[in-house]
Symmetry: none
Subunit: 127 residues, 4 copies
């Protein structure tokens, strides 16, 4: 399904949240499709079930999935996709900092540009 990077400093449950969000947005997991059960995903990723639980709860809180007791967890229909202007400007600020830091570290503008295009292109099939 996807891979975890244990060496990353982002916590495991957050990585799971991010990856599943990505899969949903890329339509690999379409609306109303069923997510793997907690136990199942727990085995696949060799991760503690509690950690999966936490990730699913977070996804639910963020409105990406909903849970039906006894049946499983399902992808929500796309509805809440208004662009959150506030969050956008926050992330923009983060990107600004990152780019500034790359300049500070001595990368030329050209190399940064190449890098950004690569990053943008990754899984760039989101339309």
């Amino acid at each position: 399904m996807f891979q975890l990077d244990l060496k990353s400093r982002t916590s495991i449950y957050e990585q799971i949240v991010d990856n599943i969000k990505e899969l949903i947005l890329a339509d690999v997991l379409p609306a109303e499709s069923k997510l793997p059960s907690v136990r199942e995903l727990s085995k696949v990723l060799t991760v503690n079930p509690n950690t999966i639980q936490k990730a699913y709860r977070e996804l639910e809180y963020q409105g990406f999935v909903y849970t039906v007791a006894g049946l499983g967890t399902f992808v929500s229909a796309a509805a809440e996709k208004e662009v959150d202007a506030k969050r956008v400007s926050e992330v923009t600020e983060e990107l600004r900092r990152g780019i500034r830091e790359l300049k500070f570290l001595g990368m030329t503008q050209e190399r940064i540009s190449v890098l950004l295009n690569e990053l943008l292109g990754e899984r760039g099939d989101l339309r």
Copy 2:
């Protein structure tokens, strides 16, 4: 100098790191200028000296400042050394996350591309 948000989920020392990096990158703290002493900043921010020191140490690891015991902590000259590959890959990872999140938030690849080019152009005279 700047303010801390004690309610924030980012730790105090990280906030200090971020803020000081910001000041350095914006050239408010120019190269070779002296940072406030650990004890001084500790008083100003009403934060334990150990916490300040942790922040300063982190800034040193990231190459933003250098320390002379008995004298103080000073801003490093930008990019005076070889490009720090490790730090670059860390920042790259941050940018990757940011770009991904903009996609989450519903921005099209094209709009993101425009945004990135704007950001890259700012103060583009660093070359």
Copy 3:
């Protein structure tokens, strides 16, 4: 595991760093093996947990171990990443000092050269 010399002029956390590096380099602690937990080692060495953590953090900075919060600290695989230029230049500096000191001590350049070649040859099968 190893012993500390409280009378030494090198700080406790540095001694811990050095000792663990030694164990890793000698493959006593192989890649992916788990280090003792902070609290555990803290008890064994009768040293404050903060001190152990400082040592572990330093080892992480130097690329010898990685940390997963909630799981533990693990030995990194050797040279899995790009050669860390920063760390290399630090070690180079240490070597420079060592060679200089041998000259101080009266060894001729030729004898030093022989010595270095011997050292380089040891376990030369790493290539």
Copy 4:
């Protein structure tokens, strides 16, 4: 005379000691020649006089110089140059560690060899 590297983590007085030892061993400062006065060197290096004092005291302790009150500090006649076997083996151990670490960091044996020859050659005119 020589330069200090404030960014180095070795303390200033230690750098001074090392540099002067080097000058003595390279015979730039021959036996019985006079060292610059504390005040003089203090100005040249823009360093606190106390720091110079400390360096001179250390050099005296190590037998490299002697001080005549009111006259100045002078280089000792070379006498104590028996190779200190114990110290040699300590330094050798440090070099062994450093070389092992470079291997760990992914440098090939050949590159290390080149590096060591460079280091050995620096100021290699010690005979």
